[in-house]
């Protein structure tokens, strides 16, 4: 948040956020070789030893997110995440955080559509204590009314910071809502403001009692520890919490019906000076739809729009000089329908219609001619190298595996990713493009300036 030079805190948050999103295109390979086991009460445990520095990352991921909220209670998953810091039957509000601070640890928590996670990065000798405290709030959350009231104000301020003060974020919320007819990804993680204001203590506790249980969680520990050590500490802490019946969240979310008409959204605002254009299509992922298309779509996104040597950047930004930015986005992780997107932002003086036509021309070329074997080979080399770079962060595997287990199809999402990418061919990409890039199934969004009147 500091603006001028002290960017560490903001940067850290960004890095973690990118790591989590990025884990959706798991940049890792069958290289981490995690050890896994399940406690008697159903808690899955993943351990990734790395002894570079005497620290560990201790994460608990619950298999519940904003897409699992009761009707009319948008934001409750995220609100509960905040309230989890407000104490238990035996711990005062903020006490857990103060203990972490005292030992020089760092902590945070996060909520997405498909999962909610809590972590502490601490010296290795603090791991048992972190497990005891995290297990305590898995089972014994106790909320005081005044803490619920003040924390609701905090999440409303968070919404103002993230969304209400920023027209492009407001527009993004509208675009996502228009991308899904039925699937609950259409609802923003933070919630709609008018529903957030009504979220109550009882709503939070009901959500907690429904979903927070050892058999609906995954414990991931990365760092300077062994699986045997984790197992004995986990059994003594999490192991005593009884399992509970958990609803079938996939069934409760319903289905996304076929899209038969292209959608188009435009917003203009006096708070926008730089226009932007994007188009997205629903796409399969590692869980939803034809999962065999996930890896071809990842390589396709790399060729079409990954970085300054991609087709879109080369064509629109360098050769035609129409845009300041252009690219493609796709991430396969998540339980529901994913999206494949292309985007561009015009150079000063470029007509948005010309920009749109130029992106469409590249998409049409992809559909008509496919990609070359050389493009595929080069993209695969680059993507597989990311797996090597990912090994450099000793705590990153905790995020990758947590996401893979909580919102993907499991550990193989990460471990076998390089093999799946290496197996992608030009013909599979052509097939993926024809399946996904269907004009009638697109959502186009345009954000433009509005002169102040």
């Amino acid at each position: 948040m500091p603006i001028r030079t002290s960017r560490r805190s903001a940067l850290f948050a960004a890095v973690v956020a990118i790591g989590l999103v990025w884990a959706t295109s798991p940049s890792t390979a069958g290289i981490f070789e995690p050890e896994t086991f399940t406690l008697d009460n159903g808690l899955q445990v993943v351990v990734v030893p790395n002894h570079r520095v005497p620290v560990v990352s201790h994460m608990v991921w619950y298999k519940v997110g904003s897409a699992d909220e009761p009707f009319g209670q948008s934001g409750i998953a995220h609100f509960l995440e905040h309230l989890m810091f407000k104490g238990t039957k035996t711990r005062a509000p903020g006490e857990f955080s103060r203990i972490i601070n005292q030992v020089g640890g760092s902590e945070n928590a996060f909520t997405s559509y498909d999962y909610t996670g809590y972590y502490q990065n601490v010296a290795k000798d603090q791991l048992g204590r972190m497990m005891a405290l995290e297990a305590d709030r898995m089972a014994n959350l106790k909320l005081l009314p005044q803490d619920v009231e003040s924390e609701r104000e905090v999440i409303l301020e968070e919404r103002r910071t993230r969304t209400d003060n920023d027209p492009s974020a407001q527009f993004g919320e509208q675009v996502i809502a228009a991308t899904y007819l039925a699937y609950p990804y259409r609802i923003p993680v933070i919630g709609w403001e008018n529903e957030m204001r009504r979220l109550s203590h009882d709503d939070a506790i009901a959500f907690y009692r429904t979903w927070y249980a050892p058999n609906n969680a995954v414990l991931v520990v990365a760092g300077d520890v062994t699986a045997a050590e984790v197992r004995s500490m986990a059994e003594a802490t999490y192991g005593v919490i009884p399992a509970r019946d958990i609803p079938d969240r996939v069934a409760m979310r319903g289905q996304e019906p076929p899209q038969r008409a292209a959608r188009r959204l435009e917003m203009s605002s006096p708070r926008v000076d730089q226009p932007s254009w994007a188009r997205r299509w629903l796409a399969p992922g590692v869980v939803w739809g034809d999962t065999t298309l996930a890896s071809p779509l990842e390589v396709m996104a790399e060729i079409l729009g990954g970085g300054t040597t991609s087709r879109l950047y080369r064509s629109l930004v360098v050769e035609k000089g129409l845009a300041v930015a252009a690219g493609a986005g796709y991430s396969p992780d998540g339980l529901g329908p994913q999206t494949f997107s292309v985007y561009a932002s015009p150079r000063d003086g470029t007509d948005l219609a010309a920009l749109e036509a130029a992106v469409e021309a590249e998409v049409a070329r992809l559909l008509r001619d496919g990609v070359t074997d050389d493009e595929v080979a080069s993209a695969i080399v680059r993507m597989k190298r990311r797996a090597i770079f990912a090994r450099d962060d000793m705590l990153a595997p905790a995020r990758l595996f947590g996401q893979a287990v909580a919102a993907g199809s499991g550990i193989a999402d990460v471990e076998e990713w390089p093999e799946r990418i290496a197996a992608v061919t030009a013909s599979r990409i052509a097939e993926a493009a024809k399946t996904v890039l269907v004009p009638e199934q697109s959502v186009t969004s345009i954000l433009r300036p509005k002169p102040a009147s």
Binding site: S9, G104, S106, S150, R271, D273, G321, G329, I388, D392
Partner: protein, 452 residues
């Protein structure tokens, strides 16, 4: 889109990891031609991270050409030597080499990350970027257009406006008062010759700091240092900015902006890195603003729900040490939030911290250090921080004692010196209720010209 991806994960709060001590095996390497670097060898992965910085950054931008250093940072990898922009970018991409430059306020820094198998190519590309950048017309105009698009976005953000107003009001006649991001006009005014002049006067051996982490030994690093930096001129041509103290102390500025949440930036003169009181000041800031359990977060977020985030930090710039902070809150509660900051400033100045707070801050600062070493980037940034702070190579071994020996009396004395509630310069951007401006909005590029 990246923006929407970033939005789908919400965090409980923003963490910060301050620097602290622990053993780290640092070697000093001096090349044949005399280039020095600090090295931490780690052969567990075939990766090299090389970080470096030169004296001179945004604060050397000429008046009317703010944004020059930033433009240079975007153009060094857009064509150098025989390779034009396309060839240079393709070479980086083919070998998965990451090469990034960054214009900071007082320094210009770069980071190279490469696999060992592509190291020779990476090193040669870096050498070319520093010694033979081309500044061809196409990339210059393309990167300029990107910087201007970024400015159009940034200048609509209350946070950017608040920052520019704070710095403009506090450093009216100094480079610190002019944002190094520039304006549409100033970025347009920068010429190829301006950028070449920056390169010629900034990329010199005097003031160069280099750190290496990863899969390389001292002898190989030594040769690498000569190859990349050996041919740079020895002495610096440009004069540094003068030392300065912030003006506008005690003033409150209000920039009207039609947003539901006001953004507040505050700050005043601080304590320099080389000041003996730096260690007490760092401990004080941990107590005041070190996340959950700290005074600002407890009083403003936890007890009252006024903000999602409130922060403060020490900013020891080369020519002006500062203590800065900020928050964002709905327009109706801005006055209350600012009052609470002043109250906490006053409470710390008058009473200092408690014995318990001091003990906790010490264990935090000492215990959190290893978390900065979990990857090569973090380790390299520790090495850069130490060297840029002009600290000795054995500093980490002594750091526990430097913090550990700070007494409660030291803390009380330094708290009186550091926290000056009457000196706070406060900028609010929004439609705050109950806040009275004490001075008109300063005339600063990028800040809408209307009074409060």
């Amino acid at each position: 889109m990246r923006r929407t991806l970033a939005l789908i994960i919400l965090f409980f709060g923003v963490s910060a990891w301050p620097v602290t001590a622990s053993a780290l095996d640092i070697q000093e390497v001096t090349s044949t031609s005399g280039v020095k670097a600090w090295l931490v060898e780690d052969h567990s992965n075939p990766i090299l991270t090389l970080s470096f910085s030169f004296a001179g950054g945004q604060s050397s931008d000429p008046v009317g050409k703010e944004g020059r250093a930033r433009l240079v940072s975007g153009l060094l990898d857009e064509g150098a030597g025989e390779r034009d922009s396309t060839a240079f970018q393709q070479a980086l991409s083919d070998d998965s080499i990451s090469l990034r430059f960054s214009a900071r306020i007082d320094r210009f820094s770069g980071d190279l990350t490469t696999l060992t198998e592509t190291r020779d190519t990476a090193v040669e590309l870096l050498r070319l970027a520093l010694t033979a950048p081309r500044f061809d017309a196409e990339p210059v105009e393309r990167i300029r257009a990107q910087v201007m698009a970024s400015l159009r976005n940034d200048l609509q953000r209350p946070r950017t406006i608040a920052s520019r107003a704070w710095w403009g009001a506090s450093f009216a006649n100094h480079p610190y008062g002019r944002s190094g991001d520039g304006t549409l006009d100033s970025v347009s005014a920068v010429t190829d010759d301006d950028m070449r002049e920056f390169v010629n006067t900034t990329f010199v051996r005097q003031g160069l700091i280099v750190s290496a982490v990863g899969d390389i030994d001292a002898a190989t690093l030594s040769a690498l240092l000569d190859q990349v930096f050996g041919a740079l001129p020895t002495f610096k041509g440009a004069a540094a900015a003068p030392d300065v103290a912030p003006t506008a102390a005690g003033q409150t500025f209000v920039v009207q902006d039609n947003v539901p949440q006001s953004v507040v930036v505050f700050g005043h003169a601080g304590i320099a890195r080389e000041d003996p009181d730096w260690y007490a000041a760092s401990l004080l800031n941990q107590i005041m603003a070190g996340g959950f359990g700290s005074r600002l977060t407890e009083e403003i977020r936890e007890k009252r729900g006024l903000v999602y985030g409130v922060y403060a930090y020490l900013l020891p710039l080369d020519h002006a040490p500062l203590i800065m902070g900020g928050l964002a809150t709905q327009n109706a509660r801005v006055a209350e939030s600012i009052d609470l900051v002043r109250q906490e400033w006053k409470r710390m100045a008058e009473g200092g911290p408690t014995e318990r707070e001091l003990a906790d801050a010490k264990t935090y600062l000492l215990g959190s250090f290893p978390l900065r070493l979990v990857d090569s980037d973090g380790t390299a940034s520790v090495l850069m921080g130490l060297q840029e702070g002009d600290l000795p190579i054995d500093y980490l071994a002594r750091r526990d004692a430097l913090y550990g020996s700070v007494t409660l009396d030291d803390m009380k004395r330094v708290a009186r010196r550091l926290y000056r509630p009457d000196q706070l310069t406060v900028v609010v951007v929004g439609k705050p209720e109950g806040v009275t401006a004490t001075a008109p909005v300063p005339s600063v590029p990028g800040v809408p010209a209307q009074g409060g």
